[in-house]
Point group: C2
Chain length 719, copies 2
């Protein structure tokens, strides 16, 4: 087998297109054929000698059971829109504005016990004897006129959300699929039995690909097309709730959760915000439950001699691969659909046997954003190459075992450029993987810790894909880091307080005031301040982006202002004079001004920080000496090949690395050296040809690359 | 006397330039001649038959006394720069970084009792037995390593700040003037005696012009020219402090203030931020003291048959003309130096006999911003016309009694265009005043209340001139309002809670989250929310600008979001879907998109508000029906003739006025109708000729105006 031409590739097959399936399997060098949501494999495909992945969504394929046992369906807390009391009685229709094909009020006695009416003007619950529910309406009495009232209530979720999305996006007309809650004993027994039967009936399947487990990420639809998606969070736990779960939680944790623990002043609890202590407990509770149940399913699959892979998207909630229970489930492989480099690193870093990435575009007529891909006006080969540009940088740094595609294979007909592009990508992937297998790439002596609320639990990711989280500077930082030759780990504030900084050269904190990535209340800890201050004073570096370490109530807005030399005026310093400065450069640091923000209200604290970039007379990037270390500030960070290089240069500066090897002369070109293979891999991230040179140990290597080219050089490096 | 050619004009005379003085007095129609800081009047001028203003700065002209009695000088609390403890002992030089020609440490036992050392990392005072002061340094022991420490300390102020400013700006070399604290009994007796002598020795003086009273606005200089002005606030009380004042306060209020009440986490307490309750008490305490002492001075002046005018700038602190004690002082006139329309209204609204504005530019070689005026490269006639453009709109609406100039008259030689411009301005001023004297202008039935922390105390002004406060949207709103034909008052949150809304049609709240203009903590009051909600529900209007009614801790960021239909995401709603919208227009509302901001994170709450302007896909201006009233939002507001017209149109909309008269077809042209005189005054704010029409009752009047022209029309309007 020519390892550059064959293997490690999962092809979506399609019954009715047997010839196309087997032909593309050969072209792309597939060793595995899979089905997809909406496609089936025929006997001709299944018996062709390939490994077979079969996708299973364990909670979704059982409408008959769900209809017979509606109490086994999944639920959610919702909050009504607020209503202003114009008098002493206020009538609220809780479900108004929500998509009634997704939600159905649960007014059972068991559920009603969890309903709450709130006076939102004063943030207080209204006593139960002041309101009653009847015929879809809550009537609140003894209102304070002109206050706002809401109803928090439990709903059944009567349409599985991925099915709902595909229906509403692709105009499907098939039956709405419902979803079962594994916490319901009858439903659970049913699902386990169903899986046993399925395994028995599908002897050719080599891998059961769970898509995914039980609880979908949160996706709350509204009834108005002008605001169809009322709330979407890839990592929130709202869809795991039920009276049964709440009772089990109370029994285990000794205290009860209320609707308000979920509704949180109508905001819900987004992953991007620091969790309440109760949310942390609840997450741990759900994670343990999900792992226990998943282990039972995996055991069934293993009993039938099949492998169990899990697709890390869709109904994945509670299954965090960097969480404490993931390994206990016993999955054999993790499949991550990726658009970006950080997602490759996310997948590569999970302790599991097989790491597979599913490339984009998905073989669908339109993409996630609604633009054409495999339809008139689409250019799927360009999409594929763009995502490959993002992924390739990351794949240079960490090994991925397999790649694959998903969707309707027949849609590739008429897109031969796409077929060629995938052929090329598959070849490059195999070349990179082979280098990793011989021995990993050279890494600079720079250990980076990304510091935020979630720590390692949310390694690399924030909550969802890049295009869903682009407004958070940290995803841009993570994306840049995913392709840099440095060690990266993700630590929580508790980790930083408890010794994690001793193995670290540079700490990065990137977020907006009060969010989970900046940290909010975590910065009240004096232990944290002390640990980081000593860390930098003794020679470490702290890189702050946007509103790092911001917390109200102290003499600075940024709690790290003393090391950054720059701070943000929340208004209290509007009468304070601003330091004049010159904009400087630093030798060896490439400046990508476009990556920075245009924040006003930033000011130098003592005029000592060097200003490397500014906008409208306000410093946007500074470097400040603090003790033996550095405080580095960027007002924002937008990922690009150029800004990634700026970040790398800052890391090299921060870690005090002299003559860092394998950096190229052009920020758009990156290089990785694999010492065991004596191979230098150079990639061009630009859409144009680039000629530059790469620093080796003691000499420079001139390189010329075609647009997007990946080039290999045999290089024997001395010590 | 031709009232358009003569009178109501104060000319700065200058000894040595007698002919120029008397000639310009005739040209400009002066009836009064004054001296200025740095100029004297000669006998020839004083005896020429004009009224004579003599400027007196009562606290500043007594260096011999100050040197003999250094304990009678004024003081201030300062806070050292923070020092990070790298070990258990930390040494801090408190005065480091401050301008030592302005400050001298007060280490007397009486003063030391007020010093404080703070651990700023945890916001706690360090016990006194852990630190000591010696030879300009404080040594703190038992520090927590890596915490930040500061010293708050008392200083003597050894250079009167206006004199310091003139010295450092204009390179004066004369002796530094010191300033006395009227709270010091010996100093006070001395100042009163001195004033008696002065009055006796200056029989020709008809008006003693106090410049101003005792305590200068806060102006703290640093020793580094890169940040010369460490803090400037035109309305802060820091310069009123002394151990004597603190003891008197404690005796009167029953509780003691500490250094931290002033230092406030190193931020001091800017007027732009809501005051602490202690600051409110302290301000009242100082205001009463200042009024009592000022009354004594005015009595002396009156005893000598002279009038007492006060210049409302410089050492004016505690003398708020809209405060409770101002009338008790007994001043006969108030002189306000003005750049803007709001300053004219500020002056015009004070209950006092004579309202005088001092026009700009000041007859100095350079202006406040350091650019040339009466020197090479200057064009003082352009400056004068620009300030007149601002003032004229306001003068149409409210009567000012006198205008004047200040500075070195001889500098006008060589600037004949300036002389002509002032002649023209004086003529226009007299024309407008004459109309007011016959009877005020027509006003639309729209009563506007500007709602903020300070209420009427800070009517029209924020804290200082426009160019010092331009970053606050409210000053732009006030400037726009100053020339609009509506009733305007300034109310506090307490006023709004206690019935002030019953005489109001439109409430405006304009500020940034947490500042004094938005209101911060005031918005916790449910009484306030109820009053405003009912007000709008019943037909009123609420105009919110930038971050109106913002307060953390509730289900919305803007506490008025329910009536505005728009809110600001502080991060908690990043996963919530955003309403799609169309950008609409409203009949009769001129849209000045340039005046608005480019705020991100704004979102429609329920999709019902009309979006009138947006930027980057984010609504920037909305109008929302709430009950019978309107909630109107603008993300920012930058003053221009055009934006003033937008505001007027919004007020007309909000007050439900049909066919509002005297509005012009061009936003740059404004009109005022004086029914008693049957005169329509039309002004062109543009630098180009404009032809347009003005709506009268039942017909339109075509008008053509030259650049900046003021034009009068005789118009008889029926009912």
């Amino acid at each position: 087998m020519d390892s550059n031409r064959q293997g490690d590739f999962t092809l979506p097959g399609e019954a009715g297109y047997e010839q196309l399936t087997l032909s593309l399997a050969k072209t792309w060098g597939a060793d595995v054929i899979r089905d997809s949501d909406g496609t089936k494999l025929s006997d001709e495909i299944v018996k062709a000698g390939y490994g077979i992945y079969s996708t299973i969504c364990i909670i979704r394929q059982h409408n008959a059971f769900a209809q017979a046992h509606p109490e086994s369906q999944q639920q959610v807390f919702l909050c009504s829109d607020p209503v202003v009391a114009a008098g002493e009685t206020t009538v609220i229709s809780p479900l108004d504005g929500y998509f009634t094909e997704q939600f159905e009020i649960n007014a059972s006695a068991e559920a009603m016990a969890y309903w709450q009416v709130y006076d939102r003007t004063v943030n207080q619950e209204v006593p139960r004897n002041k309101w009653k529910y009847q015929n879809g309406q809550v009537t609140v009495t003894d209102c304070v006129p002109w206050h706002e009232y809401t109803v928090s209530f439990l709903c059944w979720r009567i349409w599985e959300e991925i099915n709902m999305y595909n229906h509403t996006t692709n105009h499907w007309t098939s039956e709405h699929l419902r979803q079962l809650d594994p916490r319901h004993p009858g439903a659970w027994a049913y699902m386990c039995g169903w899986l046993e039967d399925w395994c028995r009936q599908n002897p050719d399947t080599t891998v059961v690909r769970f898509t995914s487990l039980f609880y979908n990420f949160v996706w709350i639809f509204g009834d108005d097309m002008r605001c169809r998606s009322r709330f979407t969070d890839w990592a929130s736990y709202d869809f795991t709730v039920s009276p049964a779960a709440l009772k089990a939680f109370e029994a285990e944790y000794g205290y009860a959760l209320t609707a308000e623990d979920f509704i949180n002043r109508r905001n819900l609890q987004a992953t991007h915000m620091p969790p309440t202590p109760a949310k942390r407990d609840y997450m741990a509770f759900i994670q343990k439950f999900v792992a226990e149940k998943a282990r039972e399913l995996v055991d069934i699959v293993h009993r039938y001699g099949k492998k169990a892979y899990v697709f890390y998207d869709d109904s994945w909630v509670g299954m965090e691969p960097y969480g404490p229970y993931f390994s206990s489930i016993g999955f054999d492989g993790l499949i991550k659909c990726i658009f970006s480099g950080f997602e490759c690193r996310l997948c590569a870093g999970v302790p599991i046997e097989t790491h597979e990435i599913r490339l984009h575009p998905y073989l669908f007529p339109v993409g996630l954003g609604g633009l054409p891909t495999f339809s008139e006006g689409g250019a799927p080969e360009k999409d594929a190459l763009q995502y490959w540009r993002n992924a390739r940088r990351a794949l240079l740094r960490a090994k991925i075992d397999r790649i694959g595609l998903g969707g309707y294979l027949h849609l590739t007909e008429g897109f031969p450029a796409f077929v060629d592009t995938i052929t090329r990508i598959a070849g490059e992937f195999r070349r990179i993987k082979a280098l990793h297998e011989a021995g990993g790439p050279s890494v600079l002596p720079c250990r980076v810790a990304v510091l935020h609320t979630w720590g390692s639990l949310r390694s690399w990711t924030l909550s969802g894909h890049f295009h869903e989280t682009y407004m958070h500077p940290l995803i841009h930082i993570n994306e840049a880091l995913s392709g840099l030759p440095v060690e990266v780990k993700f630590i929580s504030f508790a980790d930083a307080e408890n010794g994690a900084l001793k193995d670290v050269d540079v700490v990065i904190n990137a977020g907006r005031a009060g969010d989970a990535w900046s940290g909010g209340e975590a910065w009240r800890s004096e232990k944290l301040i002390e640990a980081l201050t000593e860390f930098v004073y003794r020679g470490g570096a702290f890189i702050g982006v946007n509103e790092p370490s911001a917390l109200p109530g102290y003499h600075t807005c940024f709690r790290m202002a003393h090391m950054l030399g720059i701070d943000l005026d929340t208004g209290v310093r509007v009468c304070h004079g601003k330091w004049q400065y010159d904009v400087e450069t630093l030798p060896g640091v490439f400046l990508c001004h476009e990556a920075l923000g245009r924040k006003d209200r930033l000011f130098l604290t003592d005029g000592k920080a060097k200003v490397l970039s500014d906008a409208n007379g306000v410093p946007q990037m500074t470097v400040n000496q603090f003790g033996k270390g550095l405080g580095i500030y960027m007002s924002d960070f937008a990922f690009s090949p150029e800004s990634a290089r700026m970040l790398l240069d800052l890391l090299v500066l921060a870690a005090k690395i002299q003559n860092a090897p394998y950096l190229s002369g052009d920020p758009r070109v990156e290089a990785a050296y694999y010492p065991r293979s004596q191979t230098l891999l150079v990639i061009n991230n630009a859409d144009e040809a680039v000629s530059t040179s790469v620093q080796l140990k003691g000499r420079r290597l001139d390189v010329s690359l075609q647009p997007m080219e990946t080039k290999e050089f045999s290089i024997l490096e001395g010590e």
